[in-house]
Amino acid sequence: MSDRREAERPSVVIGRHIDAFPGVLREVCAGAEEEGVPTRVEPAGDREVRDAAALAHSAALASGLEVGVGIDAGGIIAVHHAKLPPGAPAHVTSPGAGPPDWRRAGQVAARIVTGLPIAP
């Protein structure tokens, strides 16, 4: 990731709260990778108390593909597009979500990039 070229490669940006359970990030990345879309992780500071949608929206603004994923401290995942209103993410996991739902969130992010249906 320190490689500058790597940083400039268009990718889905994942903004992850540093307190989030690492397993969530792994599944989100796997979901996007299975769809063939690259991801880049940007940890968010613990002092910024922000929800998943806000994390996802800033990640989307930082993404060359205009798609971002936010993972908040509690492991809630939001998927966002830079052109959507900040308060209306494209997809949000429910509080009781498990690994298959985390994987699906990554898949949804990738599919917004590739233009495939995101509804189940």
Partner: protein
């Protein structure tokens, strides 16, 4: 005669229409307004009175008139027409002994062809296995992609010749990205535990944008499995079933097979023209319609008990018996329309929910009776409104009369009423005689064909696909209509329609739950309409045209709900154009569109000969 206020009421299968007019002493007609209500009960039965009264009250209220001013209500002589639909699937694909996996997952991994013996991943690193032979690894549910990749990598380092893998989960790309040796991987095999172990198998994955070349080719299979000509003949259905896929698995089992079975669908018996002709339903729509043509005019149609078609014909007969009180023996089915269709169905014996396109025959049947109870409806309407009411004319004759009020139309004129259950035609000759027919098959059959060909469980969605144009949502802010024009929207489109084929209904975008492209959905929709309405327009007109000659017709006016469809009138006009016919959607009184023809025809007939 003084000036009289009259209302013509047309009781149709689904709607009841009213037309209010003032008839002058000289017979001059001034139309004052129209109203549209749902028909109550089956057309031609006393239950119609409620809908008729409601329509009369509404049209009077709109014109600011009262029941007291009303001279009379004129009803159409309507005979009950009951229609039924049935679908008989006539082919079935069965996979025995798990011979193949051909579900075409969205994201297979790697590419190329691997041929080897199937081994469960749990036994890959065990002792006593035959390390000489190439291996296809079978991975059950519950294995994480990192563990699968680590196990395969370690087996390869141990000298196992791993040539391919078959996975239960959706992680083929994740696994192949972590392998040191590139192999083809097929995933999302739901029933992976049914894959026979220790069998010679082949896995093929084509590069993105390509389809498999070896396993979809009979001789490719013969080469891979060293088959003799007799065996090659046996596996050729497997090759055919896999054609067009990006990935596939074929497993060589002693007697495994893919069969295309013909399902016996029973016999249809057509009586008419002094003959009794029998035709197998599985012979297809063309054979059925040819037989029907040889039995014209048809007296009655029977189906084999125990088949869908037999059950449907019996039910249509029973319903008519209930409605009219006539014994079933007196009720005859005078017409059927058979249409060949393709139905996606899950393959029996499949490991991954494979879907095969099966052949089916859809059949619409129609029964009408001479026994109408419209006089009873008229009596009830008269009692409720406290005015006079009577039967003013036969609907076919009234429809052509009403159609004549369309600007640019002259005698001889034929009308085609595109309804829900039946397509009706009537002809008014230059000398003033009318002939009318009903043929089976109309809007409901179109909906059924669309629903089954696109595998739509929800009838409402199929109805929407029939009625409105399609679009494809291309981003959160724009969509492309089926004609290629692009529309930008100010408010972001909701995620549930993102990248979906949608129907542009007046209430907003409704996603079509299908993997088909917009073009494929559009083709299904137009073909369904063509095979029902264009075919029936010609069939019905032939029955009313002099000597069955369409060239003898000058003007054809389209009426009924489906005449308001955004493409059916154009499709019928195209179909009739070679016969030199002027065809178009009616515009009753130059203002009502294809609605209200019968109701205004009743008023006009009254004005000529006041009862």
């Amino acid at each position: 005669m003084d000036t009289r206020l009259v209302v013509g009421v047309d009781v149709g299968n689904s709607t009841t229409e009213a037309c209010l007019a003032r008839v002058g002493p000289d017979g001059a007609v001034t139309y004052l307004g129209t109203a549209l209500k749902h028909t109550t009960g089956v057309k031609g039965t006393p239950e119609n009175a409620d809908g008729a009264v409601a329509a009369v009250r509404e049209v009077l209220a709109r014109a600011g008139a009262t029941v007291g001013e009303l001279h009379t209500v004129l009803l159409n002589e309507a005979t009950p027409v009951i229609s039924g639909l049935a679908m008989e699937t006539i082919t079935e694909t069965i996979i025995t002994e798990s011979t193949m996996i051909g579900h075409n997952p969205a994201t297979p991994g790697g590419e190329g062809l691997g041929v080897g013996v199937t081994v469960p991943i749990g036994e890959l690193l065990g002792d006593g296995r035959d390390s000489e032979r190439p291996v296809i690894v079978v991975v059950p549910h519950g294995w994480d992609f990192d563990d699968v990749a680590a196990t395969l990598n370690s087996a390869v380092r141990d000298g196992v010749d791993v040539v391919a893998a078959v996975l239960a989960g959706d992680d083929a790309v994740l696994v192949t990205n972590r392998l040191e040796k590139r192999i083809p991987v097929v995933d999302e095999v739901a029933a992976v535990e049914k894959v026979p172990v220790g069998m010679l198998a082949a896995v093929e994955v084509a590069p993105p944008g390509r389809t498999i070349r070896t396993l979809s080719n009979s001789y490719g299979l013969a080469t891979v499995f060293a088959l003799d000509p007799a065996q090659t003949r046996q596996v050729s259905p497997v090759a055919r079933a896999l054609t067009g896929n990006r990935s596939a698995v074929v497993i060589r089992t002693p007697t495994g097979d893919v069969t295309d079975r013909l399902i016996p669908a029973g016999v249809l018996e057509l009586r008419g023209a002094g003959k009794t002709l029998r035709v197998e339903v599985d012979a297809g729509a063309d054979a059925i319609m040819d037989t029907l043509a040889r039995a014209q005019p048809v007296d009655d149609v029977h189906g084999e008990p125990g088949t869908h078609v037999g059950g449907m014909l019996a039910q249509v007969r029973d319903t008519m018996t209930d409605v009219t009180g006539q014994p079933a023996s007196e009720i005859a089915i005078h017409d059927v329309l058979a249409v060949d269709t393709i139905v996606p169905a899950e393959v029996r014996g499949g490991l991954a929910g494979e879907v095969a396109l099966e052949h089916a025959v859809a059949l619409a049947a129609m029964v009408s009776t001479d026994r109408s109870r419209m006089q009873a409806v008229a009596d009830q309407v008269a009692a409720e409104l406290g005015s006079s009411a009577g039967v003013g004319g036969v609907e076919g004759a009234m429809a052509v009369r009403g159609a004549l009020t369309t600007p640019g139309v002259d005698r001889p004129v034929a009308v085609i009423d595109l309804g829900g259950g039946s397509t009706d035609a009537a002809l008014l000759s230059a000398s003033g005689e009318t002939t009318a027919v009903h043929v089976a098959g109309a809007g409901e059959l179109v909906t059924k064909l669309i629903a089954s060909e696109l595998a739509l469980d929800d009838r409402e969605v199929a109805e929407n696909v029939k009625r409105y144009p399609l679009g494809k949502v291309e981003s959160f802010y724009h969509l492309r209509h089926e004609d290629g024009t692009v529309e930008f929207v100010d408010e972001p489109l909701p995620p549930h329609v993102f990248a979906r084929v949608v129907v542009m209904t007046p209430d907003g975008l409704v996603p079509v739950p299908t993997r088909h492209t917009l073009d494929a959905v559009r083709r299904v929709r137009r073909e369904a309409k063509r095979r029902v309405f264009c075919v029936n327009a010609v069939r019905a007109l032939r029955q009313v045209a002099p000597q069955g000659n369409l060239r003898a017709l000058d003007f054809v006016v389209l009426l009924g709900g489906s005449a308001l469809d955004f493409e059916i009138p154009d499709m019928i006009a195209d179909a009739l154009a070679p016969h030199g016919i002027v065809c178009g959607t009616g515009n009753i009184h130059g203002s009502e569109g294809p609605r209200n023809a019968v109701a205004s025809g009743l008023v006009d007939a009254y004005a000529e000969e006041p009862g």
